[in-house]
């Protein structure tokens, strides 16, 4: 049918812009012109605004709230307090972790800036005036900021509402401030390995409280149509479908009467997975007032109240033989979860996927225990640009391997090579029961060492050390675990963590695909179209990718934990294959041959042995609406819900070189070389962009980000004055590289890459800083490596003056 000589095979492939092509991001056309459509851009007729009265105290009894003066402020329409929400049973809401969280403070406040009342008004000015006019009478209570004090006998009891419960959703508790203990591994085997070990090390490693800090803070517009009884909720949601289900469950509205729309999102990094009081209050507000209510938090609100990350006090131990071969690992974590247990993990994992802590190393035995506790801090504990608690785990093992290397006198690269899971061991089951799908760690590390001339760097460092200069070389050889996940062990609120794709091919051969995930800047509109282009033989430019509207997109669990490509990307490929199967039937009919006589080539089915007899996907699409074989239904559409058989395990090898100014404590990153293996590479340019972004956030975390609290629970550093968001000036230059080890179980072999650089990056920076002091006997330094902390180390060594 088609003249196959028009274009060469290569030209036809190039026209597709499919897998492997570095096409420019489709979404950037609107973003760089300021034509994105974010929540705060939404303006509905009659829309009003709401915002919170927040507590200045970290722990206090709310004795009374007087809203009379606020209600008298011109333009103020309503003031909601816990007492107003009580009749609706909405003054508390369930968290993703089985606990409950106060929507508006009910008798007590548990952290500074907690939501106490919600003021709704005609405009933001009236609302702010109203907030100032609300009078709250507090009686302050003893504050608990140090999680190490949480379980003391005389510690103040924070959560009086659950004081008598011996379980708040994640296992047995043993103290009113205790949330859960999570215990995995074989303690006896690990203890035995330790007692017989030639070398053991133990290190206290604290991963500070940080915040994902997306450029766009959280917000929503809730709009109730009183006539139809339908609620539309626009919001910054990484998982819009889950939000719909949660709203239905807690607000008691039928799910089909709720439409959740996540428009363009300006970064999420885990911060936009959970549900916040603002969503509930805006929803109640629109139901009460019959007008759309917008709530958009400010920067200080974002940093001080919506979900934080990490805050893990870890104690790690390794046992090894005298050659540095690791025999066992033991870890205890004291996890500071803040005032409500509202971390976002698959339900069955109170510490997420932390048991990936054996990393890239073949460690025979392990034991891990995690204790979660309450403190007077904001709730959260989300995965900030990493899969669930993987950054914490990876940081711990990568730091400890360095400490061990130091103790046995081995080179940092050598100890890694000695302990790696070898390429022949894949699929490899770790002693903590993770089945690593594929990997080749030595090749990756050796490629990096060669690229940077590792030997040369070591020689330079030795020279510098002789002169009293501080130069550090940091390595990280990490393994991620992403793509949550198989529904047999991953669910959120009982819903399996599958994801989905629905494709419709139009008669003229273009298409629309809708997915259950939601891009927040990752470039889904670009990369999903590339997967589909290769699978379907339709140019990626002719495929619209749409996400975020629960009325149109198939149900999915959203975007976080690098799960979009591993799960929804697989659903896209599978849905496309269903379409291709039907297309083959139609092609056979068009070409008057049997289905088995056809073979696929780039963008068409060809009759075997008769290359000039072919039907392109474009032609088949048209035929699907008018020229069908007997008994086949018209149209060319498919849906796939993909429940992954396993996680995927991206990995990488990073090397970082720093120079330290011992007088100011400033650390200069001289070089950073990042090799990532994310399996099949869909769009190398998007990958590079993700790696640059992830490394920059890793740099920020390792070198400056932290949220601390004074002894009365006042949060410190929760604005851009202090919270470290590096600019282009501070950000190092990144050198990137790759190897390709496809995932054997993923339809196109892709593994996910958005978070790897953050997981591997943090430890590479930190290891480099500590290495600058390693020859002086230093084995660990606490993050973030701010100038004053690094100087403190210099001073302690007598080299700071």
């Amino acid at each position: 049918m088609t003249d196959a000589t028009e274009m060469t095979l290569e030209e036809r492939e190039a026209t597709l812009g499919g897998i492997g092509c570095a096409r420019k991001r489709k979404e950037d056309i609107r973003f760089i012109q300021g034509k994105g459509n974010y929540v705060d851009d939404i303006k509905l007729p009659g829309q009003v605004f709401g915002d919170f009265v927040r507590s200045p105290y970290a722990h206090a009894r709310v004795k009374s709230i007087d809203t009379a003066a606020a209600k008298a402020v011109p333009g103020v329409l309503a003031v909601l307090t816990a007492d107003d929400l009580k009749p609706l049973n909405l003054h508390w809401m369930p968290t993703l972790a089985g606990d409950t969280q106060a929507v508006l403070a009910d008798e007590k406040v548990h952290f500074q800036n907690q939501e106490v009342a919600f003021v709704i008004g005609e405009d933001r000015y009236a609302v702010s005036d109203g907030i100032q006019a609300v009078e709250v009478d507090y009686e302050d209570l003893p504050v608990l900021v140090d999680p190490k004090q949480a379980l003391a006998e005389d510690a103040p009891v924070l959560r009086e509402d659950v004081e008598d419960k011996d379980n708040v959703g994640q296992g047995t508790r043993r103290h009113p401030n205790h949330i859960f203990t999570w215990d995995v591994g074989d303690k006896d085997a690990a203890d035995q390995a330790f007692s017989g070990a030639a070398v053991t090390i133990k290190e206290e490693i604290f991963y500070q409280r940080v915040h994902p800090c997306p450029l766009e803070p959280c917000g929503c517009v809730a709009s109730m149509d009183p006539v139809r009884g339908e609620l539309t909720l626009y919001g910054t949601f990484q998982a819009p479908h889950v939000v719909r289900t949660v709203v239905s469950l807690i607000a008691g509205l039928p799910e089909h009467k709720i439409r959740v729309i996540a428009p363009d999102i300006g970064g999420g990094f885990g911060n936009k997975v959970g549900a916040y009081p603002g969503y509930v209050c805006a929803t109640v507000g629109t139901i009460v007032l019959g007008r759309p209510v917008k709530w958009v938090e400010g920067r200080i609100d974002n940093l001080s109240t919506t979900a934080f990350a990490r805050d893990y006090h870890m104690t790690g131990e390794l046992a090894a033989d005298s050659n540095g071969r690791i025999a066992a690992i033991r870890v205890h974590v004291l996890a500071d979860h803040g005032a409500f247990n509202a971390h976002a993990q698959p339900s069955k994992w109170p510490a997420g996927l932390f048991s990936i802590v054996t990393g890239s190393y073949d460690i025979p035995s392990a034991h891990i225990a995690v204790d979660g506790v309450y403190t007077n801090k904001a709730p959260g504990g989300v995965a900030y640009r990493c899969s669930f608690r993987v950054t914490e785990a990876s940081y711990l093992i990568e730091r400890m391997v360095d400490v061990l290397a130091q103790k046995v006198g081995l080179d940092k690269a050598e100890i890694r090579l000695r302990n790696f899971v070898t390429p022949e061991q894949f699929p490899y089951t770790s002693c903590l029961d993770w089945e690593y799908d594929s990997g080749d760690y030595p090749t990756a590390l050796n490629k990096v060492l060669e690229a940077v001339d590792y030997k040369g760097l070591l020689e330079e460092q030795a020279e510098k050390r002789k002169r009293g200069e501080l130069m550090g070389i940091g390595l990280a050889t990490f393994t991620e675990i992403v793509g949550a996940g198989p529904s047999r062990n991953c669910d959120i609120l009982g819903i399996g963590m599958f994801d989905s794709c629905e494709i419709r091919i139009h008669p003229t051969g273009s298409a629309i695909a809708r997915l259950g995930t939601k891009s927040q800047g990752q470039g889904h509109e670009t990369t999903y179209a590339q997967i589909l282009a290769t699978e379907l033989g339709i140019p990626s430019d002719d495929i619209t990718v749409e996400e975020g509207d629960t009325d149109t997109a198939p149900y999915g669990l959203g975007t976080y934990g690098s799960r979009s490509t591993p799960v929804a990307g697989a659903a896209a490929a599978q849905a496309a294959r269903k379409i291709k199967a039907k297309a083959q039937k139609i092609a056979a009919h068009m070409l008057e041959v049997g289905e088995k006589d056809l073979e696929w080539e780039v963008d068409r089915f060809k009759v075997k042995g008769l290359p000039e007899k072919a039907a392109t996907m474009k032609e088949i699409a048209f035929a699907a609406y008018q020229n069908l074989p007997e008994g086949l239904e018209p149209g060319l559409e498919a849906v796939n819900y993909y429940d992954p058989p396993n996680f995927t395990y991206p990995f990488g090898a990073y090397l970082c070189v720093v120079d330290v100014d011992r007088l100011t404590g400033e650390v200069k990153v001289r070089r950073f070389y990042a090799l990532d293996d994310c399996g099949t590479r869909i769009n190398p340019m998007v990958i590079e962009g993700q790696v640059h972004g992830g490394l920059t956030e890793a740099f920020a975390i390792a070198m400056g980000q932290e949220l601390t609290f004074d002894e009365t629970g006042n949060i410190q550093g929760a604005s851009f004055m202090d919270y470290f968001l590096p600019t282009a000036v501070e950000t190092p230059v990144w050198e990137t590289d790759f190897t390709v080890t496809p995932s054997p179980h993923h339809p196109i072999g892709a593994k996910g890459v958005g978070e790897s650089p953050n997981v591997g990056g943090v430890s590479a920076f930190s290891n480099a800083v500590v290495d600058a002091f390693a020859h002086l006997g230093v084995s660990h330094m606490p993050m973030p490596h701010t100038p004053w902390r690094v100087w403190k180390q210099c001073q302690a060594l007598g080299i700071g003056e």
């Binding site: 702010s128 000036v729 501070e730």
Partner: protein, 288 residues
């Protein structure tokens, strides 16, 4: 982050501005570039009832020689300071310091007058002005007066300027030709106020230091003129011993508070490091 309500005024002459200031007293506030005031208003740490915008006062703009001084109008932006050839030639420390203020976006709006009138110890220009021994020209209903920068700052956000006085210009004596200068600022990132910073201007003659002036930013309630530190260099070859004495003298008067930039001990220590580095760079630039 929403300011309270205010009346907006836009005077077209200095006299009208002063009249508005007198009329509204502590309810009124002038706004120049707004890059210190507006953030305070958004946090409602400042809630002026009347905002008096100076942007139409063209007479307050410009950099001009005035005898042995240079006069810089209060409404001259920091970017205009950076771009001025006259300043680059006659008093280059201003350019060096201005380039360490925030980022281009802030410098295009923020004014020199606002920077020195603000009274925030984090501002960089006040210490530079003290180092140069500049004076501030203040005009109020009772007329005009000049206050030396070294006497202007009383406490954080408290200055010698009366409520009804407008700062119209900064007048700085032109440093001798061949002087050495440096502004050293330690900060965590672009857009950050100093962890510690030091301004140094010195002159050398026949290998020996003839004059030296040192001032410090953000290590006390006000900018600090480190007189003893400067004196420690005068008459010396600016050798190691002299520099060490200057460093110690500067550290002696530093009283930084602990904040996210670091504890007091660290900020005092790096005050010394900034002084040392500024002196070393100034010395290298000075013509002997």
């Amino acid at each position: 982050m929403i300011p309270g309500a205010f009346e907006y005024h836009r005077p077209t002459s200095v006299d009208e501005a002063i009249a508005l200031m007198s009329r509204h007293g502590d309810e009124g506030r002038v706004i120049a570039g707004g890059h210190s005031l507006i953030p305070m208003m958004k946090l409602r740490l400042a809630e002026p009832g009347h905002l008096i915008d100076l942007r139409d006062l063209v007479s307050l703009k410009g950099i001009r020689p005035a005898g042995r001084c240079i006069e810089i109008g209060a409404m001259t932006t920091q970017q205009e300071v950076v771009a001025s050839e006259l300043l680059a030639e006659a008093c280059p420390i201003l350019r060096e310091a201005a380039l360490l203020i925030a980022d281009p976006q802030v410098r295009y709006c923020g004014t020199l007058g606002g920077n020195v009138a603000n009274g925030d110890p984090g501002n960089d220009m006040p210490a530079v002005m003290q180092c140069l021994d500049a004076s501030f020209v203040l005009r109020g209903p009772k007329g005009e007066r000049e206050v030396p920068a070294r006497d202007f700052y009383e406490a954080a956000y408290f200055t010698a300027r009366a409520e009804d006085e407008l700062l119209t210009a900064v007048s700085l004596p032109i440093p001798p030709a061949g002087h050495g200068y440096a502004y050293e600022k330690l900060k965590r990132k672009v857009g950050d106020y100093a962890t510690a910073a030091a301004a140094v201007v010195l002159t050398m003659s026949g290998g020996s230091c003839e004059s030296a002036s040192i001032a410090l930013t953000n290590v006390g309630q006000t900018p600090l003129f480190a007189e003893a530190a400067g004196q420690a260099l005068v008459g010396t070859k600016v050798d190691e011993a002299a520099v060490a004495r200057a460093v110690e003298a500067a550290k002696d008067i530093a009283e930084p508070v602990a904040d996210m930039r670091g504890p007091e001990e660290y900020r005092t220590h790096v005050t010394g490091v900034m002084v040392r580095r500024a002196v070393e760079r100034a010395l290298a630039r000075a013509q002997a």
